[in-house]
Point group: C2
C-alpha cells in the first residue's frame, strides 16, 4: 500500500511548557488492515489539557511512548474497513492521535447522523459530558445553590456554568480577560464574572457569593483554588476537574494554605476522571441536545487549521488564548 | 451564696503558641440557680486541639469571648439542682469550661452508671466517637483496605487505628517518637508505624502501603498530608479530622503541592465536625463498649492534676508530649 501517514510524535517528555523539542514529525506507511480493523482518515482533533499529563508521565493512562503520535481524541471518516461496526463513509469518534490516519478496532463510536464532527468534539463532546458529570455526580449541585466555575470561558467551564444556570443556580465565573468575562455574563448568562488577572479573586468571590460557594468547579487549581476554599460555604463541594495552572510547572508549587477550612466548613473536595463515567454519556448528551436545541447553551469553538498546527493549537489552552473549545481541523 | 468559682479565662487571643499572656485567672461568685438550672462541680476536663481554634477566631462555634472561661468539654457532679433531669449526685458530661463550677441547663448528658468520668472523656469520649464517625461515615472504610492514621498515638488516632484493625484493615500509624511507634504496633496492634521525626514519611508510607492508601485519617495536616496524598490509592479517601501541625502557626503555611493527584486517582478529601454527627453517639459507644470489654481496644489517658495546670496540659497536645488522651483532674 502506498498511502503514507503523516504524524506528530512525542520526541521528548516536556518538563516545563512543551516546545519544539517536544515534538517530531514523520511519515510512515499506513499498514494493511487485519480482520476487525478499519482505517480512519482523521478530520478533526480535540485539544485537551490532559494531553499534557500523558506527554510527561503515567497518570490514569500510561504515558505516551517516545516516537508515538501524540494521543488525542478526534473524529474521522472510515475510508477502508474490515469491521462491520465501522462501515466505509461513517464518521467515528475515538482516540485518533495527532496523525492523518488511525486504525479503529474497538473503542470507536460511530456518530449519529444528527451530530456533526464539530459537535461531537464540541457541544456534545467529552468536555461537556465532563461538565455534566462533575456538576451532578461529583458536585451534587442543587437548585438555588451558588456555583463558582474557573476556566469559565473554556470548553468545560463554559458548559458547567450554563448547566448550573439552567438548574437554577447562581453562577459566578472566573476567566482571564475582560472579553472573556463579558462573554460569559452577556452571552452565556453567568450572574457575575471575575477577571483573575486584574481583580483580587478572594475578595471578589466574597462580594459575588456573599453566602459562600456551595459548589466550586475547579479547572485550574493553584491560587484560585485557595481563594475558593477561603469562600467555601458549609458543606460546600469542590469538584477537582483540572489544574491547568500547574500542568506546565517544571517543579511543584505550594498548594492552598487553608485546607483546614474544609474541616470547620465540613467541605468536600473530590477529583474525577471522565473515563470512569462513560455510563453517563447518554444522559448527558440527551440533556445537552435538548438544551442546545432550546437555545439554552451557547458553545464556541476555536478552530485551528492543519495537522502541523496542532502544537500551536494545544499551546493556546495554556496561554489562555482560546475562548471555548480548541479544535484542529485537518 | 458564698461559693466562689475559680476560672481560667481568655485574656488575649493567641496568634502563635498560647502562652502566659493568653490566659488569666479570676474568682467570681457562683450565681444563684434559676429554675431549670443545675450546678456542676467540675471534676475532669478534656484537652482537645479544637480549643485552639475557639481561642482565636469564629469557626464552627463562635470564638471564646475575652474574659470568659476557656471553653472545654468535661465531666462534673451535680451539687445543686433546680432541674429534674440533673439530680444532685449525678455525673454529667458537657461543655463545662476551665472552671470549678458550671451551670447545666441543657446540652448536658447524665453518665450511665457503668461509665466512669475518665471513660466518658476517654475511651467512650468524643475523640473515640470522632474516630468512629470519621472512619465509617466519612472515610467509608471497608475490610481489607489499607488505612493510614496520623497522630496515631493520640486519643483520636489511636482509636481510629484500632477500629480499622478490628474491621480487618491493614493499619499504618504515624507518630512522633520511637516510644509511640512501639506502643501503637506492640500494644495497639497496628501493622506498622512511622516516626515522622526521623523517617522519610513519603517513602516509608510507600514501603508500608505498597498498593496505596485507601483511607488516610488525618489529624495533623501539613507535610504529612502531602506525603499521604502522594501515596493515595485509586478512589482513596482522606478524612480531614484535624490539622494540629498548623493550629499554632502565626501565618499561613503553604499547603500540599500535589492536589492534582486527587484528580488522576479520583481521590476524595472531606472535613467533618463531630457536632454534626451526634446521632451516631449511641452506635459508636455501643460498639466501643463491646470492643473494650472484649479487650480489643487499648486506651491510654495522660492525666494532669489541678485546674491551674490546664494550660500546661493543653500545651502537651501541641508539643506531642502526650500519648493518648490528655485530661485534667480537678
Amino acid at each position: 500500500m502506498d498511502r503514507m501517514n503523516h504524524r506528530i510524535t512525542l520526541a521528548r517528555r516536556p518538563t516545563g511548557t512543551p516546545d519544539d523539542d517536544t515534538y517530531a514529525t514523520d511519515d510512515v506507511p499506513v499498514p494493511e488492515l487485519d480482520d476487525g480493523q478499519a482505517l480512519v482518515e482523521v478530520t478533526w482533533l480535540s485539544m485537551d489539557p490532559t494531553i499534557r499529563g500523558w506527554m510527561a508521565y503515567d497518570t490514569y493512562l500510561p504515558a505516551i511512548g517516545i516516537g508515538e503520535p501524540i494521543r488525542s481524541a478526534g473524529v474521522g471518516t472510515i475510508v477502508e474497513s474490515r469491521n462491520s461496526r465501522y462501515p466505509v463513509g461513517a464518521s467515528v469518534f475515538g482516540t485518533v492521535g495527532w496523525q492523518q490516519y488511525a486504525i479503529a478496532e474497538s473503542g470507536y463510536r460511530v456518530l449519529p447522523e444528527w451530530m456533526s464532527p464539530e459537535q461531537a468534539l464540541g457541544v456534545y463532546g467529552i468536555t461537556s459530558v465532563t461538565a455534566y458529570v462533575g456538576l451532578f455526580d461529583i458536585g451534587r449541585v442543587e437548585p438555588g445553590e451558588t456555583v463558582l466555575v474557573s476556566g469559565a470561558a473554556g470548553a468545560t467551564g463554559s458548559v458547567a456554568g450554563q448547566i448550573a444556570r439552567i438548574k437554577g443556580c447562581r453562577v459566578v465565573g472566573i476567566a482571564g480577560s475582560d472579553e472573556k468575562c463579558a462573554w460569559i455574563t452577556d452571552e452565556l448568562g453567568f450572574d457575575a464574572a471575575i477577571n483573575y488577572k486584574t481583580e483580587d479573586v478572594r475578595r471578589t468571590i466574597r462580594r459575588h457569593c456573599p453566602s459562600g460557594v456551595d459548589v466550586y468547579f475547579d479547572n485550574v487549581g493553584g491560587d484560585i483554588l485557595e481563594a475558593a476554599i477561603a469562600n467555601i460555604a458549609q458543606r460546600g463541594r469542590i469538584v477537582l476537574c483540572g489544574a491547568i495552572s500547574s500542568y506546565n510547572d517544571a517543579a511543584p508549587r505550594p498548594g492552598p494554605s487553608n485546607l483546614p477550612i474544609l474541616i470547620s466548613q465540613r467541605g468536600r473536595m473530590e477529583g474525577f476522571i471522565i473515563m470512569d463515567h462513560m455510563s453517563r454519556v447518554m444522559d448527558a448528551v440527551t440533556d445537552l441536545r435538548r438544551w442546545n436545541e432550546e437555545g439554552e447553551i451557547v458553545f464556541r469553538t476555536d478552530v485551528v487549521e492543519g495537522l502541523d498546527q496542532a502544537p500551536t493549537a494545544f499551546e493556546r489552552l495554556f496561554t489562555g488564548a482560546n475562548t471555548g473549545k480548541v479544535l484542529v481541523k485537518l
